[in-house]
Amino acid sequence: MPTYPQETDRYSLQPKKFIVWLFMISSFIFFAGLTSGFIVYSGDNLAKQLNVKMPDAFIYSTILVIASSISLQWAYIQTKRLNFAKQRLGLWLTIALGVAFTCSQLYGWMVLTGLGAFFTSSNASISFVYVFTLFHILHIIAGLILIIGSIISSYKAVPNVLNIFRMEISIVFWHFVDILWIYLYVFLLLNQ
């Protein structure tokens, strides 16, 4: 039974939410492009494979980013219960965790360069690690901006539909970025 969109749906938020999903798809394709580039590059040539161990910092990052997803989910639940103080708490927590994640990634870079695995390596597999993480961090920043938007709407007492809508968008996107990192990390672990 097909449901026909109602005319009043026009300004509603459904199509916009859909846009976020499509954006995530194209952003995932971007990373899929990079990772398949990696595969084509390293191919069957031993000299071109990833020959450094991933720094432990990436494990901490993973834990941080998962924690941030949980805190954001909690904030969302609180929002639905109209518990705005707790919503804000959750959001602030998420932001803190997101920033910590970014720092941890940057620390990971430091560890890598310490190991002599530079961005401008003659083995581009290593450069790929930096590219993956760099563009992932850009996504984290985008996610943080969305969350800040949610915080602002929480403080500004906008209509609750909008508040919830913004929360939903932040959540979906943040989980996506979270999963994206896990995908990249597992990909790197499998290839190192």
Binding site: P2, Y4, Y11, K16, I19, I25, V40, T120, N123
Partner: protein
Amino acid sequence: MATLTLNDTHTAHHDHAAHGDHGHHKETFLTKYVFSQDHKMIAKQFLITGIFMGVVAMTLSILFRIQLAYPDESFPLLEMLLGKFAPEGRLDPNFYLSLVTIHGTIMVFFVLTAGLSGTFSNLLIPLQLGARDMASPFMNMLSYWFFAIASAIMLATFFIETGPASSGWTIYPPLSALPKAMPGSGLGMTMWLISMVLFVASSLMGGINYVSTVLNMRTKGMDLWKMPLTIWAFFLTAIVGILSFPVLVAAVVLLIFDRSFGTSFYLSDIYIAGQALPNEGGSPVLWQHLFWFLGHPEVYIVLMPALGITSEVIATNARKPIFGYHAMVYSLIGITILSFIVWGHHMFVTGMNPFLGGVFMITTLVIAVPSAVKTFNYLATLWRGNIRFTPAMLFAIGLVSFFISGGLTGIFLGNAALDINLHDTYFVVAHFHLVMGSAAIFGMLSGIYHWFPKMFGKMMDAKLGYLHFWLTFISAYLVFFPMHFMGLDGVPRRYYAFTEFESMSEWLSVNKFITWAAILGAVAQVAFLYNFVYSIFWGKKTVQNPWESTTLEWTTPVEHLHGNWPGEIPTVYRWPYDYSKPGADADFIPQTTPLSETMSSNLPHDFEGNEESERIQLDWEKQNKKELVK
């Protein structure tokens, strides 16, 4: 939940207010014509920018065609116009390559992707689906402005010291990565890359918007199988774009790192300008994989909207339902899917594993099947039609002709063994100009002639349209047909002059002929441009449905409104191709006419298995027969 409903009713009210009375909207020149969020205005912006870029790219092609025809002659005028790029009135070889590169880039991306999809997806998706606007009008506006900025940057490269990018529209590294390899790989290439990133951002915003709109904002009754083929084509095109453009960005990002940060993704073992570069381990073939993963779908991004427009125009003007509507949709879907697994046919002789070459050869020739189906369906639609030759129809028929001619040569190029000797020759140039260049341009022109009344409320002059069509059609064949034979003689593309090889000089007279044919084609566009501009301001006013078409866009008033329909959005009851239905009075039945009003012409399959309606129809027929007998 309470707020939700409140909110909804509120927006609904706002609607009525807005459409009942336009004075309430404070529209300044800026919000109406420049930063407009109305899909119809954005469509016009895309169209006019696209036409402008098309004229630029065409002019570039005439410039380099003159060089090919008269390699030994000097044209002082060129020096006047181009300065240091044409010393002594002769094009500089590097600048020749710049012209070719920018010509290709603009034609493929700026004219036939943004100008074509941008215009008609924006115009028709809401209008033919019964939506008030796009899912996100704001993003739609951004999409246009990103495109405009990208265009400006691309053109600006002509004014820099080292000239525009010049390593071909495919910008294969290392040539594109090393400023020392050619002047165009310096600042010009940097700007090319920036421009393309902005362009991709624009395309993605547009494409995401189109998909979301098609899936979420159809009017009542408009299920997927009642959508016009134009919408199917735009929808699938947008999906192809969403799935392939990000890969181009990935490729470009890596190239930027190679150019500016010293990484070695694409660079290895290079000794240039008396110096060995430190880069090692990179692979130029990697770029080709990533580029063609976009590049091949891109040619379908260019072509599919043109095919969609043609389907609509041919059905309307042949006064016949499009033959095999379902087959048309399935072949579009087939092309969409297959277009992602054929990219390797551009790489048969690049050193890619020969086994992969074999695989890509198979997938490539498979994609010819849906294309063949589409062609036959077009022919069957014309068969026993009642064809009105509007200019739009002429261009649509021209498209079918080019699609056949260019598609057939694709069978040669898709064959890895044959491609050994055809790759990078003029045979390729001939092939893609017919199947992608001419066909898509004709689709675009067809669309312009057909929907001009919808866009501007005026009619274009038909006779000038005929003149435009015939000159363009003839000159396109005169230009591109002989190029096949040059390719078969082993003449490579992107050659500044054929003077250095004895065996190529026999093509010089052909080159002169081609150039004059190209000039004829270019001059013919003046007829179009004049017609276009003149008709916008002084053209004859159109009636609401000038082509007697069935689709929804012709139920909107001639004067544009924010929100498209003054009252409620019409409901859709039938598929879009009820032309010349036996038993109906008029030779077209709009999609908005309920089946209950056309009892005399309903056919069993119209009911899609709805038993209730079938019973009513049967009753009606029985009764009617009785009356007839009486």
